[in-house]
Symmetry: C2
Subunit: 199 residues, 2 copies
């Protein structure tokens, strides 16, 4: 069955709406103004995208005309939508996820500490880091084997990729330590850390 599956844009919408109930217009602004990744922002992408999510029961839009403002359709996650988002966030990282689209993994991460716990986030980062490591070493050995056959610009372009993924790998370690620190702070040095913490 599984009606059909959610696109990356769909998950981006789900994640943003989870952070804060929003109208289509709000979401368009977010996509246009922030560096959240290169997603649409065009009305022809957002509004149909929202309709799709709503028709699948993942979000529900309610017109609010509280102030003197024009009707604004404010969307909120349904519990089904929340579950869908959580399932996406919890997906294990498969080999190949890094290759085609570390972007999507970063998008997932950026929604994590809202909807997942610190432990899950650290686990995600660890797995991401390992995947990056093996991907980088794959690229490096490819480079070692093929550098002679490649053009200068081709080789340099590959090196750019290697550096980029390596910087992501280093970032992942940095991020992990950031979460470890935040966990220590929120448990404030004592032994009694019931899971949950602030918010």
């Amino acid at each position: 069955m599984a009606t059909q599956d959610t696109s990356v844009l769909g998950f981006a919408l789900l994640g943003l709406i989870h952070q804060k109930p929003s109208s289509g217009y709000d979401l368009r602004k977010t996509f246009a103004e922030t560096a959240i990744g290169n997603y649409s922002s065009s009305p022809g992408a957002i509004y149909p995208g929202l309709e799709r999510l709503e028709s699948r029961g993942l979000i529900r839009g309610v017109v609010e005309d509280s102030a003197g403002l024009r009707r604004r359709r404010l969307y909120r996650l349904t519990s089904k939508g929340g579950a869908e988002l959580k399932r996406w966030l919890a997906r294990p990282i498969e080999p190949g996820d890094v290759t085609r689209g570390a972007q999507e993994l970063m998008l997932r991460f950026s929604f994590m500490d809202q909807a997942s716990g610190t432990d899950a986030t650290i686990a995600f980062l660890t797995s991401f880091r390992d995947a990056l490591k093996s991907y980088v070493s794959g690229l490096e050995s490819y480079l070692r084997d093929n550098a002679p056959k490649m053009t200068l610009s081709g080789r340099l372009a590959l090196e750019c990729g290697v550096r980029g993924y390596r910087s992501m790998h280093d970032w992942a370690n940095y991020a992990i330590s950031g979460y470890r620190d935040s966990r220590i702070q929120s448990t404030s040095r004592s032994a009694k850390n019931r899971e949950g913490g602030p918010r």
Copy 2:
């Protein structure tokens, strides 16, 4: 007029065919096996893409049945196609090109030393580096202003982006020095470097 413009995939095909006349199958393998960027590789993308280019007179495919092999349609650039490729490679980098798709810029770069001269490549890299610098500083100031309002994972995700673009920036400097070295080698230390060089 301008029939219509070439997609990124179209330029990728043009660039690869320029490097080496290829069949659709060859190109699919290249996309599937190398880290050239995340392009199609599916037959439903490649073959129609090639047909589109051919119908616009940018490439021409000839069936070769030299060996006992099955018919293979080998594509070559036409002069019109070569001009289209050169024009794409020579496009100035506009603000915003970095934001949505450093990938495309890297693809352009990876074809450069085939079809453009060393000087043009260095100019491209310099301009790319400058664009990256200003983009990075924009992200950094956004981060400075908004860090308090952001979630931990949101902030970290942005920092990942900053690091990535900064690593590209550093790479650009590295690549520039690579081209300078190659130019020195090919003019072998003397004063008379007429532009052009090998090829």
